[in-house]
């Protein structure tokens, strides 16, 4: 009998970008798909523009550790390119990265963007998303996070219907229009990888 596989997702970004909110959507979607899932978050000063990250682990068997070891994550979802680079070593060799291109420059010494993009492109399995362009096309300023999730969904064992249900429930309180725009962003992101894989 082979040992059960434990999967890990790392989510990274800057305080205020919605990293924890995204992690909760992923957690709930996995749980509804019949998997055992745990989420860990560190957010003491998260609203103050510092680095924020969360981890989600899941498996077909019950888990007790919410922490992913270095080199064991399958997927990195990063809402910011510099933040993505912090967590590359968390990924297993064949892991994937879904990364927003748009930088958040709220600090001293932010490295040149071309260096960051070059470093990311050198990592196998990296998918950069021009979230700014996508937000413009969708006429939805905050489409980035949901679009990244849509792209990331290609690597997760969750059906379209479950994703849509969870996202809908998450935004219901904010009205039908907001929900619709978020589903639209999710679908747009999901479409991006299909095209990339198809090439």
């Amino acid at each position: 009998m082979s040992e059960p596989r434990i999967h890990g997702i790392v989510l990274g970004g800057v305080g205020g970008q919605g990293v924890l909110s995204l992690a909760q959507i992923v957690l709930e979607a996995l749980r509804r798909s019949g998997l055992h899932a745990l989420q860990s978050e560190i957010h003491g000063m998260s609203q103050r523009g510092g680095s924020v990250h969360a981890q989600v682990c899941f498996s077909e068997v019950p888990l007790s550790s919410p922490i992913i070891d270095e080199g064991c994550a399958d997927l990195l979802i990063a809402l910011e390119p510099l933040e993505a680079l912090r967590y590359v070593a968390m990924l297993r060799m064949n892991g994937h990265l879904v990364v927003a291109e748009e930088p958040q420059v709220n600090m001293e010494g932010y490295p040149p963007l071309e260096d960051i993009y070059a470093a990311l492109k050198a990592v196998r399995g990296c998918h950069l998303v021009d979230t700014e362009d996508l937000a413009r096309k969708l006429n939805h300023r905050q489409a980035g996070g949901m679009a990244l999730l849509g792209m990331a969904s290609r690597f997760l064992p969750v059906s379209d219907a479950v994703w849509h249900d969870v996202i809908t429930e998450r935004f219901t309180a904010k009205g039908a229009r907001v929900t619709e725009k978020n589903i639209e962003a999710f679908n747009a992101g999901r479409g991006l990888v299909q095209e990339a894989v198809g090439v």
Partner: protein, 553 residues
């Protein structure tokens, strides 16, 4: 809320307390404990039925509120972070002697690794110090189940019971299965014949201390089912507790050979002193995996020095958080070969003041005033809150931060030692928490100290909880004995900068104690409309002169 739900570890404790029929929940905000209170507060808000949830001015007040509820015969929960228990320690240690009537459960969230704290003290040590039981869950479901158990134990042993979490569990979110919900049922006030138990004059206290020690064997017996030895085949064993237990259990999924190791699994203290010799007879060497201080490890080392591996012998780092990787390394398990870390130099993205935060304007006024009076190098005593961020480069505006309320007393002490000017910077909530007694001493001493109260009208850092000092700061300051002529209230806005600098200069040059209140609502709170309703009511009341809110302004 459905019976199955997603919850953080601390939220699971709050949820269990509600379900176990508490009458009152109390606490003081502090990461990573805050959400525990907020969760039960939301549940009570939805279905009050006579229940109360109340943030307190500080942890000691919160604890004593809970003890009062217990005295009145009801179950109660009190929540705080580890350093908050230092503040509540007087109440906690002495409630061991009074005992409880209704079940009293104390949720303490420790912060090994100091993600958002000034130390990584281990609350299990404080429970031992007070001769009280502590339960240590390792999963979100255990947080819920153990809290139920804690209420039962509290009532059967008639002592407060601590549930101790650490950051990783406090902020682990997972599926939770709830039990039935009990309505708050009162046992009735502490009976007449027990009144002397609650009056800790020396003659009673001596008797109650003997009673407390006499309860220890019963504590061990009642907790014994929560600790166990699992026999194995090898002579190398592990002793695991808390997250060490969780991490080890998960490692056995990928390394089933670990199940052959004899194990000592600990989830509750005090431990049966007979357990360790039995376990040690099964093994030649032991790895101890527990979060924070070497509590178990020290006990085992006393019995078998030289063969116990953990934080004390260097098998694990002496400080910081336990991680699954540390377990793997200690046990000699292979670790995965992942992607190479980025070779690009990645600067740290530290937390910073929010754009438009009033604290920045207050500090800028202070720094310019110091410059103008030729004291740019003056040392400033800071305190705990968002405004602590000013200790970072490039602002470097505060030069000591120790614990809640320390700013004022340290500035007074330094002034007594001859430091001029001597400045304290403290937030409104921290002022209400433990700055008040310090200001009383400042006023009484008459020393040359300038106290800046950065009043953002909420407990900003932990998520804009209500501040007990709301609308009360000047009255509190005057009440402590600071003369009205030395109390200024300023608005920290860029357009007020010149006036604020002048006001600060005047305060700094006054030879006695002076207080400058910088008041502007936290911009996060403003964005969320936290005080919108409160301020509308205040305005309406002031217009109609319908109640005494005028006096509160």
């Amino acid at each position: 809320m459905a019976l199955g739900t997603l919850a953080l570890g601390v939220e699971a404790v709050g949820c269990a307390a509600f379900d176990a029929g508490i009458k009152g929940a109390f606490g003081y905000p502090g990461t990573p404990s805050t959400e525990g209170f907020e969760f039960v507060e939301a549940m009570i808000h939805e279905a009050p039925e006579g229940r109360v949830a109340q943030w307190a001015a500080n942890e000691k007040v919160a604890y004593d509120l809970a003890l009062g509820v217990s005295y009145a015969g009801h179950r109660t929960l009190v929540t705080m972070k580890h350093v908050g228990l230092n503040v509540a320690m007087d109440a906690y240690a002495n409630s061991a002697l009074t005992g409880v009537r209704g079940g009293l459960v104390l949720l303490v969230a420790d912060d090994p690794g100091m993600h958002s704290s000034q130390n990584e003290q281990d609350s299990r040590r404080l429970a031992k110090f007070a001769w009280l039981p502590v339960l240590e869950p390792s999963t979100v479901q255990e947080c819920y189940d153990f809290t139920w158990r804690a209420f039962e134990l509290s009532e059967s042993l008639q002592v407060p019971v601590m549930v101790r979490l650490v950051t990783r569990l406090a902020h682990c979110r997972a599926h939770l299965v709830r039990r039935e919900v009990l309505a708050p049922i009162g046992l009735g006030v502490a009976p007449k014949e027990t009144i002397q138990d609650w009056v800790l004059i020396p003659s009673n206290a001596r008797r109650r201390y003997v009673d407390l020690l006499a309860k220890q064997p019963r504590m061990v017996t009642e907790l014994s089912s929560m600790n166990r030895i699992v026999a194995g085949t090898g002579r190398r064993g592990v002793a695991v507790a808390g997250m060490g237990r969780a991490y080890f259990e998960q490692l056995t999924l990928e390394h089933p050979e670990l199940l052959d190791l004899p194990r000592l699994e600990v989830a509750a203290y005090p431990l049966d002193p007979g357990l360790e010799p039995v376990f040690l007879s099964l093994v030649d060497e032991v790895f101890v995996f527990e979060e924070d201080y070497p509590v178990l490890e020290e006990r085992l080392t006393f019995q078998r020095a030289g063969t116990i591996h953990g934080r004390m012998d260097g098998a694990l780092p002496r400080t910081g958080e336990l991680t699954p990787r540390l377990l793997k390394d200690a046990l000699g398990l292979s670790t995965a070969d992942g992607k190479a870390a980025s070779t690009l130099d990645l600067p740290v993205r530290a937390p910073r003041f929010c754009d438009g935060c009033g604290h920045v304007d207050a500090y800028e006024a202070m720094q310019e005033a110091l410059q103008n009076i030729g004291k740019a190098e003056a040392r400033v005593f800071g305190d705990i809150g968002c405004y602590t961020l000013a200790a970072q480069e490039p602002m470097s505006a505060i030069h000591a931060v120790v614990e809640m309320g320390a700013s004022i007393s340290m500035a007074v002490g330094a002034a007594m030692a001859g430091q001029t000017p001597s400045i304290a910077v403290i937030g409104d909530s921290t002022f209400g928490h433990s700055g008040l007694p310090a200001l009383l001493t400042a006023a009484d001493s008459g020393v040359n100290v300038t106290v800046m109260i950065l009043d953002n009208r909420v407990v900003g850092m932990t998520g804009q909880q209500p501040s007990q000092a709301l609308d009360q700061v000047e009255r509190m300051v005057l009440g402590m004995g600071i003369p009205a002529s030395q109390v200024q209230v300023l608005t920290p806005l860029p357009k007020q900068h010149e006036a604020n600098v002048k006001a600060m200069e005047a305060a700094l040059q006054h030879p006695g104690p002076s207080v400058v209140v910088f008041r502007r609502e936290c911009i996060q709170s403003l964005r969320r409309g936290v005080l919108k309703e409160h301020d509308q009511e205040l305005k309406a009341c002031a217009e109609q002169a319908c109640c005494n809110t005028e006096a509160r302004q």
